[in-house]
Subunit: 102 residues, 2 copies
């Protein structure tokens, strides 16, 4: 299979049993996920950039959380307005967005 060059994980507090609670869900994690989906589709780089929603990362007070692998870069307090910046600077430009790092 073709592996992703970058894999973006967005906490949407999706629990394995299907229920959904928690801070990232409350704090607009789903909006962030939605914005990433739209931007990646628009930029046409979905073949190299994978996007997944996740369950809780356990650092809810810093949410919404976005993690980029294989870089192991962790972002906190991410809003939908930050998504273009993460894609421009980090995913396409190779430079993580310092102001969002946790």
């Amino acid at each position: 299979m073709q592996k992703p060059a970058k894999h973006i994980f967005v906490c949407t507090s999706s629990r394995p049993n299907g229920t959904q609670k928690g801070f990232c869900h409350t704090k607009e994690g789903v909006d962030v996920m939605q914005k990433f989906m739209e931007e990646i589709e628009e930029r046409g780089n979905g073949g190299e950039v994978f996007l997944s929603n996740t369950g809780c990362f356990g650092i809810c007070e810093k949410g919404p959380i976005v993690v980029v692998y294989p870089d192991n870069v962790w972002y906190g307090s991410v809003t939908a307005d930050d998504v273009a910046d993460i894609l421009d600077s980090h995913i396409e430009g190779g430079k993580p967005v310092d102001r969002l790092l946790i």
Copy 2:
């Protein structure tokens, strides 16, 4: 924050809107997730090894899917019986489990 040395992602087909459908869910992805939780707690390496459930990776025919980052190693058709092997060989021993690679 302390970043994980290894981050294990298990597809449980958790959708951002809270509903849960899809192959990995049907194919015991939740059992695999549960087994990882138990094993990691038992081994006491939860500080270095993170575990997250995810939404669909889009390769359902190969599910249940397990991905290990930052290694970017992808496993398919994983069952609860494979979990100890992945932890022993890959996570603790540094050697991915060849028979499960996709």
